[in-house]
Amino acid sequence: MFDIFLDDAPALVVVLPLLISAIIAFMPSKIWPWIFSIITLLLHLFLSLHLLKEISVSGLIIYEFGNWEPPWGISFKIDGVNIGLQLLFSIFVLVSTFYSRKIFLNEIDYRDSGKAYSLWLLAVGSLNGIILTNDIFNLFVFLEISALASISLIALGAGQNRKALLAAFNYLIIGAIGATFYVIGVGFAYAMTGTLNMNDLVIQLAQYSDGQLAIFAGMSFMLIGLMVKAAIFPVHIWLPPAYSYAPSAVSTLLAALATKTILYFFVRLLYEVFIIYPSYLSLFLDFVLYPLSLLAIFIGTVIAIYQDDIKKLLAFSSIAQIGYITLAFSLKDHSGVASGFVHIFNHALIKGGLFMAVGYFAILYKDRVTLNSLKGFGYKYPITSFALLICGLSLIGLPLTNGFISKLYLFQALYTNQMYFSIALVAVSSALAVVYFWKIVEQMWFSEIKFKSEKEDAYIYLPIWIVTISIIVFGIYSTPIIEFSNLSADYLISGYQN
């Protein structure tokens, strides 16, 4: 009897969270919305695993909504590019939902928890839609649902600090401009080709082999819109305040997954559709994305050093890390794209773990966590602090952590492309990451104040440690991540060479 559902698995992973979110919105209880969310996400994980099984057999699933064939109807596409991301997404969302319960209870009014989890599932469903969709207008809809849901979630942080409202408002304005730019681009593309389906778009674009100004304008609009949403430097300004004033659980979800899914779509658009104009693509990658990535890496890291507020520090380091990912994607070859995907996976785990740990500190400290307030936390809360230490070392890229694997592959990709200047810059920026992370470590373990260790909440440190252990495991046994990334790169780059 389950077969009926399993056939529709590609749709259900998106629709299920959206449906349940409507159901739990008005539950006044403080525990039931969470239980419903956990059950939903367990089912979600089950469906994702089923998709993985199907993909390993067939290699490609195209799900047509209402059985309308692709050029006319909306379709979802699952192949080697996104199955790894889908799996990571499913697992990480489950862990962070587990983590979020105690955090939400502390940071927002418990009567609002139904609404909070409703928005949470809305964000999860729509972000998942971004991963799977094969239709450029459908993407805009998912983009906006996820943006509106996450803006509302960020605004929930106003109970702690009213600046959350300003952060949410700025995100709304800037995000909406980005999304509208994207729609203008879609309009140009549709006017020239009469299609919205990504596979069909490639075929239709081929007839304008020498390229048309309208198409280039449309492509540029789409890319700029997505760059705003993915917080690629210099259009990242909405991100640091949004991440730092959001409730901690929300920062975890957004930092780990929201920008990553959009980056994924960005690279898919570049290498699957716009590849048809190699000269335009290499112009964009070499003269726009590549320099911007280098600037993002350098400036993000330097600003992070001067931050006093830990969540802000992490947010600026996210800008730099997004820079690493786009730097890898701008390399135009297999090793580059693969290392970009490796870093998407690893950075999701690292930043997720860091935001989880800092979020827990914020609750224990009952205020915003600044460098000063961390004094002696290493002795006071050893379990969480140790997890934070490991995640931080991974962010820097020490061996035995997955951050090292990322850096290794990135260096390798840069080396094969003979970009020695970028190698130097990435190395310097990694060294600078030591500076800002050392400031945290110094406060936590080497300040004069000594505390006795206090009891920590297992419901909170368990998810943090799940993430931390996965960081170490993937640092030593990195085959799954490497394989998924190579698979993604295989699919994207094979189109490039044809």
Binding site: V141, R162, L165, L172, A176, T180, V183, L196
Partner: protein, 104 residues
């Protein structure tokens, strides 16, 4: 389109920014609908009188986009209301000076 963007960038008042955003989005919607026009085309209803039909798909897309736009504006206005409740002003400069004071 440019007018809406201009309002968003230049105005100091949050409410005006939301209005500017709405104008900007509406302009894009009109752009989409104008794409659909086919010369001599009529509304896409099956009759013997018509010899060409306008393309209905952009209208459908824009219907979706309008819903998104409404939700964006509504959320923006709700946030402006909350900002007013917390700061008792919605002028960007005044809020900045308030925040500077509270940081000291």
């Amino acid at each position: 389109m440019v007018g809406g963007l201009f309002i968003i960038i230049t105005s100091q008042n949050y409410l005006k920014k939301v209005v500017g955003l709405a104008i900007f989005q509406t302009a894009v919607f009109v752009f989409f609908v104008s794409l659909a026009k086919v010369l001599d085309g009529t509304a896409p209803i099956l009759t013997k009188m018509a010899n060409a039909y306008s393309n209905p798909l952009p209208h459908v897309l824009i219907l979706t986009a309008i819903v998104v736009g409404v939700a964006t504006s509504a959320l923006g206005l709700a946030l402006v209301l909350q900002i007013y409740k917390n700061y008792e002003t919605i002028e960007e400069k005044e809020i900045e000076s308030l925040e500077l004071k509270s940081d000291k």
